[in-house]
């Protein structure tokens, strides 16, 4: 009990948390800047529906989550254009559909409640080797693609038209960004929970935006914040007997509130 690193489940929890905290802001910053921060919520609620679907037909629930959240983000993209300047409605519609699907599908699963709730709030203390490998691959892909398309993503988050004029394939870059969002949410739902992952996408970015000016600075600081929240969250949940997912999110919101207050005083 004294040495937190004596337990292999805690080592895996730290490994997964550090990786996800490095990757989540890479997606989080562009979607926040694109005024699209609710997409994580919509994708994660749809991912829950996919998890229920996966458990129902007996495939790995993460595969179900990937299918449903990919469908969700592209559904949002499709719907958005039809609502013109009210495009955020699309996010809410898809999220509602996701919640409805989860509620109906989970009714058919044997012993479903326990399983679904472990996906809602995450099972960071029970990560299997397979899930850890999946997390490593996913985070490598996210960080790699973000670095590779750094300039392109930067350009389209501020001005899609100008980016298009400069010869950037706007549609393709958006497509990649949406796909990565869906993948992040699906894989992270097993680890930190579907209800928590959208907070990890948005809160570190929001906190970093309060204290930095440039895109590069915000991205770097949001990763620092995300690492700070998840690592301290795991320590605190271990020593104070709290649920890790919720602890991580609450530390994030507390730091964000403090940063907002300090900023106001200036």
């Amino acid at each position: 009990m004294d040495n937190i690193f004596a337990y292999s489940f805690m080592l895996k929890a730290f490994a997964a948390a550090v990786l996800i905290a490095a990757a989540a802001p890479c997606i989080g910053l562009p979607i926040v800047l694109k005024r699209f921060s609710a997409i994580g919520d919509a994708a994660s609620h749809s991912a829950l529906g996919g998890i229920a679907f996966g458990l129902l037909i007996g495939i790995n629930p993460i595969i179900g989550a990937v299918l449903f959240s990919v469908a969700a983000v592209f559904g949002i993209e499709g719907l958005r254009k039809r609502f013109g300047s009210y495009s955020e409605i699309a996010t809410v519609i898809v999220m509602s559909a996701g919640i409805g699907l989860t509620a109906v599908l989970s009714g058919f699963i044997k012993n479903g409640s326990a399983n679904i709730s472990s996906f809602m709030f995450g099972s960071i203390v029970a990560i299997s080797d397979f899930e850890l490998i999946l997390t490593v691959i996913l985070c490598a892909v996210i960080i790699g693609v973000t670095l590779l398309l750094y300039k392109e993503i930067f350009a389209i988050t501020f001005d899609e038209e100008a980016a298009g004029l400069c010869g950037i394939p706007v549609k393709a870059v958006n497509f990649v960004l949406m796909l990565l969002t869906a993948l992040t949410v699906s894989v992270a739902s097993r680890i930190v929970g579907a209800l928590m992952i959208s907070s990890l996408l948005v809160i570190p970015t929001a906190a970093a935006m309060l204290v930095s000016g440039s895109y590069r600075g915000t991205l770097a600081r949001s990763i620092v914040f995300a690492e700070l929240f998840t690592i301290s969250g795991l320590f605190i949940s271990y020593y104070f007997d709290l649920r890790p997912g919720g602890t991580i999110v609450l530390i994030g919101t507390a730091v964000l509130a403090a940063a907002a207050l300090l900023k106001k005083r200036k």
């Binding site: 009990m1 489940f9 044997k110 409640s113 029970a126 007997d241 890790p244």
Partner: protein
């Protein structure tokens, strides 16, 4: 327009039919008995034999703590003669329906109401103590007899057979418990307080009594420490559970995993005594 009238007439007829007394309904002159989940279904069919139609509402394999009946199921329930449930918050949804049922003349029996051994924490899985299970069967027999006095003798006879079986079960558990080398069981779901109290065991639950949330890291560490300090050879999971928690603990500590069934549902249609004897075998493996 004509079609609409025909539909309306048919609907009205269906409603009238649904209000008809039990004897005129559905081609069966047996009493219609609904049970809240598999354990109650199984105990009820042991008493009812072939003299009543017994239906289970919460499908076997579904977690009874979180089950909610659909509107169609509620409608069927109000047409029943008897509704058997366990109570003590085992099936929270019954709280809101028992009043509706008594208005429609259904005899509702809370079978845990008079069990002899209630645990300190009011663990609702009372049937895991055979003495309690027998008391529940008595309550079931009473309810069936109240709805169907003509077959009262038959129900009493079947209850008598169950009495012998539960007494033998209790005796077999007591005999085995005396030879157990260890008395601590580590279970994924904290559902075995009644079993532990009856036979001098101590349970260490990974999840709580409602089996919903994963443990905190602190709890995980405590359990792994306990397993390593005391050389625990096996931990228990439930049938149908796909929780990765038990697998994680087993992989970390090298202990084995056995199934201990709280008999909330059985996918293979096993009866109470079969499951209780399977549990006894698992306990013997883990504790001797």
């Amino acid at each position: 327009m004509k079609h609409i009238r025909i539909l309306a007439a048919a609907a009205a007829a269906a409603m009238l039919a649904s209000c008809a007394p039990a004897a005129e309904r559905g081609g069966s002159d047996k009493i219609q008995v609904y049970t809240s989940f598999y354990a109650m279904y199984d105990l009820t069919r042991m008493i009812a034999g072939d003299r009543a139609d017994v239906y289970n509402i919460c499908p076997a394999g579904t977690e009874p703590h979180d089950f909610e009946p659909t509107a169609a199921e509620m409608a069927r329930l109000t047409e029943a003669d008897v509704f058997i449930y366990s109570g003590m918050s085992m099936e929270p949804w019954t709280d809101s329906v028992t009043e509706t049922l008594s208005d429609s003349g259904v005899i509702a029996a809370e079978t845990s109401a008079d069990v002899p051994n209630v645990t300190e924490n009011y663990d609702p899985h009372v049937w895991l103590d055979p003495e309690n299970a027998y008391a529940q069967m008595e309550a079931i027999a009473d309810a069936l007899t109240a709805a169907d006095p003509d077959n009262g003798g038959y129900y009493a006879e079947r209850l008598g057979e169950c009495r012998e079986k539960t007494e033998k079960l209790d005796g077999d558990y007591k005999a085995a418990a005396e030879s157990f080398a260890s008395h601590v069981i580590i279970t994924s779901h904290e559902a075995y307080m009644n079993l532990c109290d009856a036979y001098g065991l101590i349970q260490m639950g990974i999840n709580g009594v409602d089996n919903a949330d994963d443990p905190t890291p602190t709890r995980m560490a405590e359990i792994e420490d306990f397993i390593e300090t005391n050389g625990v050879g096996y931990i228990f999971t439930e049938p149908l559970s796909s929780s990765s928690i038990v697998d994680t603990i087993a992989a970390d500590t090298g202990c084995g995993v056995l199934v201990l069934d709280p008999f909330e549902g059985s996918a293979e249609d096993k009866d109470y005594f079969t499951v209780m004897y399977e549990n006894l075998e698992a306990l013997k493996t883990a504790l001797s």
